[in-house]
């Protein structure tokens, strides 16, 4: 897959995760502080990916990937993050060299989000 397509895939997932945390903050008010930090990290990732994408290529519409429904718990968020971390790591292997640090860092960040949610009160 081309570099820009891989970046757009990671971008769409950052936007999806940010939207999922936005919903989770409303559903789990007791965890709002911690969840807000993670939501903001996903937004920062999306911003960085947009900057990395060639301005000549139109970015994917983040709103196209709506947050999934269903009950949100810290456990399901952590599982989502771990899977998304793996997908970003796979994307990291295919992007151009100068994009590998950014995509690899996003893969690492998603794994830390799962870690930060572990052991929390449900």
């Amino acid at each position: 897959m081309a570099d820009a397509d891989l970046l757009r895939g990671v971008l769409a997932e950052s936007a999806r995760l940010a939207a999922r945390y936005e919903a989770a903050i409303g559903a789990l008010p007791a965890e709002a502080e911690r969840l807000t930090v993670v939501r903001d990290a996903h937004r920062a990732h999306a911003d960085a990916l947009l900057r990395a994408l060639d301005t000549a290529t139109a970015p994917a519409d983040p709103s196209a990937s709506a947050a999934p429904g269903g009950t949100v718990t810290l456990k399901t968020l952590a599982e989502d993050e771990r899977a998304a971390s793996g997908r970003a790591a796979t994307a990291c292997l295919g992007v151009l060299s100068h994009h590998a640090p950014l995509v690899g860092t996003i893969a690492a960040a998603r794994a830390t989000h799962a870690e930060s949610l572990a052991g929390a009160q449900q």
């Binding site: 911690r34 930090v37 993670v38 903001d40 990290a41 920062a44 990732h45 960085a48 971390s85 790591a89 990291c92 292997l93 060299s97 100068h98 590998a100 640090p101 690899g104 860092t105 996003i106 893969a107 690492a108 960040a109 794994a111 830390t112 989000h113 870690e115 930060s116 052991g119």
Partner: protein
């Protein structure tokens, strides 16, 4: 930055954990020992890889400077966080030049260091326990 620099960072982390472990109670010492073992594993994998490439592999130094004196559990945990942040930064930098299996090694190592940094921040009561871009200074 390169795999060679990542190896140097792993050597420094292994040295640092020798200091960290001496100041932690049994439960947290277990976390530090687990982390140290992971760094030894990366060091060994890197040394093998550099040998296969015919590249020079730096040996560990006899001692390394520490960011602050370690005198108690709190300063030991702060050092553990710094050790993981530094190795994460070295692996992130190594991604720029790494291709194929080396890039896989680097992204896996970066992820593991970042997760341990978060784990130690939680253990130390540091909030937030995450940073937006692990390894980026």
């Amino acid at each position: 930055m390169s795999l060679t620099d990542a190896l140097a960072a792993e050597h420094a982390a292994i040295y640092g954990y020798g200091v960290v472990g001496a100041f932690l109670d049994a439960q947290r010492k277990g976390l530090a020992m687990e982390a140290e073992a992971a760094h030894r594993g990366r060091r060994d994998a890197l040394a093998l890889r550099l040998a296969a490439l015919g590249a020079s592999a730096p040996a560990a130094e006899a001692r390394y400077g520490l960011p602050e004196p370690v005198t108690d559990p709190a300063s030991a945990l702060r050092l553990a966080i710094v050790l993981e942040e530094r190795t994460a930064a070295a692996w992130r930098a190594a991604l720029l030049a790494a291709e194929g299996d080396d890039r896989r090694l680097a992204v896996d190592a970066l992820t593991d260091c970042a997760v341990r940094a978060t784990r130690f921040r939680r253990t130390a009561g540091v909030a937030p326990a995450i940073v937006p871009f692990p390894g980026r200074s």
